[in-house]
Symmetry: C2
Subunit: 404 residues, 2 copies
């Protein structure tokens, strides 16, 4: 059911990240700059885009044990961690690595360019005053960021206290997270309307979502089966994917189990969760390699289109009318370029979007001819550099198809 | 989660059934006959309507262990039971009590007035030749009937072999069953399209459906959790009720468990299932009492309406026009009767249906005046006889509201 491979060495992960940065800066980025890639698709990448650590988002009703869960994984407390039976965590906390313990308030955090939280400014001070980072030197954090969140309350109590849009904030974090853990309390299973809404906003991110059925030792075997069945029955209705979500069943803290009937199950599940978390940096890195492959292919096709357009322009007069004609016959242009340079049509951008983005350019003035050397250098990125990087992962074989 | 009360004595159940028959024959039926109840609502009841034993329908993919399950409950084999890893049971088998072992083929069975299978004639010989009863002297069968069914195959194989409409037959049995057990194999979980369709036709019967996750000892704890989760996740999507269905998790045969991790759970679940089956006759009987209460209330209101209509008729002339007028003003008639005799409007029949059923009657000729004695005698049914019967059940208190 789940592979029991050891998590790859964090050092490998970091060496691959450095490799990616180099490849991008020296071979892909020059092409992007020469052919105005950023104006057509997405901004040039910065080192921090490669460095960004995978983020684990915790969501759940209040008191399901989210904060305790994080301290259990870190094997220590973090600054600002409040744990208790009443609703305790009243803010979003980004738990990150730092050699020294430190707490940074949200307003300051959201302006730091090297942190992945700049976008949060749009939620204003109402939200930022309920956001902070909590930095500390826990080994697990060298490769992961945890986002602790305020528990969802049941009923109307919830919305009254809040000055920001909780669902929108959740959405923001979930889109940027690599894993979303939904915590449930086996002793007191509850899915309030607001939590259901939060789960529904995760649509499209389903492949990142995992469930944790926590405090599973507080009930006996038969009760656990009823609770677990009810959880899956209800979530199956809320989450539309036919694929079943992975559930980790256990008690995620360091106290002895109250009911020992399922001790072995709990231990195995807790070990699985830890392993899956430890695998995240490698998986996130593989994803980054994959994204760079896609980006380089697009940059290549883009360079061919732009230089083809440039080539079609008359030397002296009639620039405007030729450009208009080319834009009108763009689908044929794409097909010609595809045939001429043997580029798969699947790599081409959407016609309409490309046409719209041409608006700000004069082909004869802004576009340049094909720089054969530059393209060849980038071709080696796809044929050699990135496959070589992938080789550094122990499980390179099954992942090979990602480069096809 | 589930009440652990002992199943009531089968003798009590049978004495209540006899009581019901008596009450109906001596006090309710005379009212029904006098006021043409059967022409308005439903046929007069026969003894066999009270005697009918609760029916347990087993459904599942092939080889999930349905036939084995029945022999496990009966603690013996039944004539015609075929068990094996390939698709074995090729017909519907009604497993019923008899002092001697006996097999009756479907065509003969469907014409017996004292058996609850007359309606099956409509499926023709194509079905009846794939239907039989298997009678034997197993104690559990004194109060229950089991219906074993051919396992559902996956893919197209299924429909090719069959000359009758499987889904329609399933629907027929499910409407007449008191419990519908869906069996799943934990080692080889499979819900084929046809089985999903069969489950969907159970809509409206959801409260009778229970799930059995069989062969649960063939997998380890973690695998069991994955399979069970997948089952609930998928079924939650197919079955629209928010209420979670009860699942019995275990291995329902007499072999030792292969994997003993969940031994206690399995034993508890198997005990629960047996208890719930043993409770069925009592629950079915309580339902019969409840239905007779409803029927007697309707019979009473009906008698008042009919005798009121009779009273309104002129002695000599103008019958036709008076009857037409009364039928036109039926809603007012109902209200007058309700006020005059202090009868709750909720007990009254639907106006249009009542009006339609009046078509075949001449009020002055066919309807009779109120027989006060007969009504009073039936009133004691509601105020005394049926509550007295209910008292015979140990758990009479919580069920009292059914008589309100
Ligand atoms: N595995 C566990 N088993 C039993 N009790 C637990 C477990 N984990 C946490 N608890 C207890 O549950 C309560 C809530 O824990 P915690 O504050 O970590 O939850 P939370 O989800 O962070 O709540 P909030 O949403 O209010 O921040 C505390 O009393 C804690 O001791
Ligand atoms: N609890 C159990 N654990 C393991 N194996 C079982 C169990 N119950 C039945 N089996 C085995 O599964 C196979 C199928 O059993 P059985 O014939 O009772 O299933 P069935 O559902 O009636 O199949 P069909 O739909 O073909 O009639 C047989 O080999 C039987 O021995
Ligand atoms: Mg908390
Ligand atoms: Mg069978």
């Amino acid at each position: 059911f789940s592979s029991k491979k050891p998590a790859p060495d964090p050092k490998v992960v970091r060496s691959v990240i450095d490799g990616l940065k180099n490849i991008y800066a020296n071979k892909v980025r020059p092409v992007e700059e020469t052919y105005h890639f950023a104006d057509f698709y997405s901004p040039l990448l910065r080192d921090s885009d490669f460095d960004a650590k995978p983020m684990v988002l915790l969501l759940g009703q209040y008191s399901t044990g989210k904060t305790t869960f994080i301290t259990y994984l870190l094997e220590r407390n973090f600054p600002g961690a409040h744990i208790g039976p009443e609703p305790t965590t009243d803010r979003f906390i980004a738990i990150m690595y730092n050699k020294e313990e430190r707490v940074t308030p949200g307003n300051a955090l959201a302006v730091q360019a090297d942190k992945p939280f700049r976008g949060l400014e749009m939620f204003g001070t109402a939200f930022l005053s309920k956001f902070q980072s909590s930095e500390l030197p826990a080994p697990l954090l060298e490769d992961l960021i945890f986002i602790d969140t305020p528990g969802v309350l049941s009923g109307e109590k919830q919305r009254i206290g809040r000055a920001y849009d909780f669902i929108k904030v959740i959405q923001w974090f979930s889109e940027r997270s690599d894993m979303i853990l939904l915590l449930f309390d086996a002793y007191k299973l509850d899915i309030s309307d607001e939590f259901r809404m939060a789960i529904e906003t995760l649509k499209g991110q389903d492949d990142k979502v995992r469930l944790v059925l926590n405090k599973a030792d507080l009930v006996n075997s038969q009760q656990l089966m009823r609770v677990y069945g009810a959880l899956m029955w209800s979530l199956g209705k809320v989450i539309k994917t036919p694929e079943v979500m992975r559930v980790y069943i256990g008690s995620f803290w360091n106290e002895p189990y109250q009911n020992k009937e399922n001790e072995n199950l709990f231990r195995a599940e807790q070990a699985d969760l830890l392993r899956d978390l430890r695998n995240m940096p490698a998986n996130a890195t593989i994803r980054k390699v994959n994204e760079l492959v896609k980006r380089a292919r697009l940059a290549k096709v883009h360079a061919y289109i732009v230089s083809y357009l440039k080539n079609q322009m008359p030397t002296m007069f009639g620039h405007k009318s030729k450009q208009d004609e080319l834009l009108k016959t763009l689908p044929q242009v794409f097909e010609t370029v595809s045939r001429q340079y043997n580029l798969p049509m699947g790599d081409f951008p959407e016609v309409q979007r490309f046409r719209d983005n041409c608006g700000r350019f004069e082909f004869s003035k802004h576009f340049v001819k094909l720089n054969q050397k530059m393209i060849e250098s980038m071709d080696t990125v796809l044929s050699k550099d990135l496959p070589d990087l992938m080789q550094r992962f122990p499980q390179d074989k099954p992942k090979a198809h990602m480069l096809e």
